[in-house]
């Protein structure tokens, strides 16, 4: 019924959505250690070690050099490209003391104030950002 039969067609459609990285199996595989590293920050003792020396903490995880660099730079769009998932990445920005609104706004090119103003005015319209191919 609502389930697509062809996994290839199902996955291909996701690439047509503007400004969005759907957390597919391919991203989950690429980002496995990145997300598990982020998850480790759930424990207070790990947060202490992380805050004391981020690079040293990362050295203990089998992340790619790119992933390590973008974690240190807090470039969340790049981290999504490298297999990060937002619920896992939220452990990093929560440890930084950022709210979801503050962290999420950094991915949109807007300042926190502009982003908050957009949300208070009803959010981002889906008009024009549903499909790259169809431009709707």
């Amino acid at each position: 019924m609502s389930a697509p039969k062809d996994i290839h067609a199902y996955l291909a459609e996701f690439e047509d959505i503007p400004g969005t990285r759907v957390f597919t199996a391919a991203r989950a595989r690429q980002g496995y250690h990145l997300n598990q590293f982020a998850m480790s920050l759930m424990k207070p003792e790990n947060r202490e070690r992380w805050k004391a020396d981020e690079a040293a903490y990362l050295a203990g995880w089998p992340l790619s050099e790119d992933q390590k660099q973008e974690v240190l730079a807090r470039d969340y769009n790049r981290l999504l490209d490298l297999g990060g998932n937002i619920y896992f990445l939220s452990k990093i920005f929560s440890t930084d003391g950022l709210s979801f609104v503050q962290a999420v706004s950094t991915m949109t090119g807007a300042s926190v104030e502009e982003y908050q103003a957009m949300m208070n005015a009803g959010g981002r319209s889906p008009e024009g950002v549903r499909s790259k191919g169809e431009g709707r």
Binding site: L11, A28, F100, G122, R124
Partner: protein
Amino acid sequence: MARITAGVGSSHVPLLGVAHDQKKDRDAYFAPIFAGFDWTREWEKAAKPDVVILVYNDHASAFDMKVIPTFAIGCGERYNPADEGWGPRQVPDVIGHPDLAWHVAQSLILDEFDMTIINEMDVDHGLTVPLSMMFGDVSEWPVKVVPLAVNVVTYPPPSGNRCWALGEAIARAVASFPEDLNVQIWGTGGMSHQLQGPRAGLINREWDTMFMDGLVGDSDHLRRIPHIEYLRETGSEGIEMVMWLIMRGALGPGTRLLHRHYHVPCSNTAIGHIILEPKP
């Protein structure tokens, strides 16, 4: 005989837990949201459910990437609020109903829904925020809870149709439980929101309204909405709304609307909730 007497669909935005716990719920920003739940809290006091089957998703709290169950049912005695990175919420522990949960789990598996069974886990905002919204500030939750966790993070999540059918199977399972229990089923998450990428902040009031309209009455067209439509129209995290369809499926062929409420924004999210009864 146990019976499902009502269904609730509700957002579970973590910021609502913060507002509730810090008593900011009547501040200018939060008042229009919490005011929508005033009716619901009074209704819950009168409805007095014994058990809530609470459909939600874990947000990298109890489950990490090691194990990703599609449908998991909590059969334990109790669940503690999770430490999501800033200490656990100071809300009561969640008390399970292992007799009903195990009965439902066994019945579902015989009914060809291959559930994962959980005996121990912590529960995050996805489960505790709806409890706070429905019951307010209480020293203990007035219901037992059967947690039902759905994977809506790693693709593919279950289809809307599968969620609806699971709801139907849950209703059959509850109806064959011999004890006289007043059971509600809640589907949580949503509504439109996207927490990632340049398109973050997407809200679609028109689509959310269509979705809430579709939960009321005799139609089952919502079960056929494909994942791609949720993604395009409601943002990447709007997919959580498939969990509302488990609730809707459990209410049977027709529903009657008791209450609904919708407000934008709460944090990055459109917040909505709806109270439904099965049509006799």
